[in-house]
């Protein structure tokens, strides 16, 4: 990761901005959202700890320490996914199967909750996303 950041540094003009936008796992709890009401249904099963987030933080710290970039701004937000069926949610989670899985019991719970809630209800998963705005320092540090 440090190597990739160093390559980006090389490709950027002096003073240019590097935006680092990335999610932090695990996901928040699976929720049922019905109009203004939000109810937590349970958590996904964590398949493995996401060590990439910590490694990415370390890589950013390292390029800051080396003086390649300065940190202009750090921010965060919650990225929400909404599904109106357990099948759609499962489809989405295929891309995340190395990290999280929908347990059968929770899937059943979600199906039941959706049925009981009616047509205007959604399943929701939130992901915490960080936004780091770095700036390339003018000259290569010694």
């Amino acid at each position: 990761m440090v190597h990739a950041l160093t390559e980006v540094w090389r490709a950027l003009a002096p003073g240019a901005v590097l935006l680092d936008i990335r999610p932090y796992l695990p996901f928040g709890p699976l929720e049922l959202v019905e109009r203004e009401r939000v109810r937590a249904l349970g958590r996904l099963e964590e398949v493995q700890f996401d060590s990439d987030g910590a490694a990415a933080d370390n890589a950013v710290s390292e390029v800051l320490r080396r003086g390649l970039f300065t940190l202009d701004h750090a921010d965060s937000f919650y990225y929400s996914g909404y599904w109106d069926s357990v099948g759609e949610l499962r489809e989405y989670l295929r891309d995340w199967e190395d990290y999280a899985r929908l347990p059968k019991r929770l899937a059943g719970e979600a199906r039941k909750a959706l049925r009981a809630a009616g047509p205007r209800a959604w399943l929701r998963l939130q992901t915490y996303v960080v936004v780091n705005r770095l700036r390339k320092r003018g000259a290569a540090p010694g």
């Binding site: 990761m1 190597h3 990739a4 950041l5 390559e7 980006v8 090389r10 490709a11 950027l12 003009a13 002096p14 240019a16 901005v17 590097l18 935006l19 680092d20 936008i21 990335r22 999610p23 990415a56 890589a59 950013v60 921010d75 937000f77 919650y78 990225y79 929400s80 996914g81 909404y82 599904w83 109106d84 069926s85 099948g87 759609e88 949610l89 989405y92 959604w122 996303v129 936004v131 705005r133």
Partner: protein, 98 residues
């Protein structure tokens, strides 16, 4: 059956808060299927969307809105060895990719 992502618009808002993307030559690393690219490309000068996944880039190429096609150029490469000369870009974006 339907799904929806970030209807609150937090991600576009985070990108909108970066004036350095305006009129810039942007390198987006992890451009994938273009989800993030299309949110800011209209105000950039040019966007190189880099990704090692050829299938995702083919989708990006096909699905890029016509008004953005002249601005967005997909490139298949890994971020560890960028196939560009030094100091080529005014801004870079790591799109869920670090």
């Amino acid at each position: 059956m339907t799904s929806s992502f970030d209807p609150e618009g937090f991600e576009p808002a985070a990108l909108a808060a970066v004036p350095e993307l305006n009129g810039a030559r942007v390198l987006e690393i992890g451009a994938g299927d273009g989800r993030m690219t299309w949110q800011y490309a209209a105000r950039s000068l040019a966007v190189v969307g880099l990704d090692p996944d050829g299938e995702a880039l083919a989708y990006l190429l096909e699905e890029t809105p016509p008004r953005l096609r002249r601005r967005v150029c997909p490139v298949r490469a890994a971020s560890e060895y960028l196939p560009f000369p030094s100091e080529r870009f005014d801004a870079a974006l790591l799109a869920w990719s670090l």
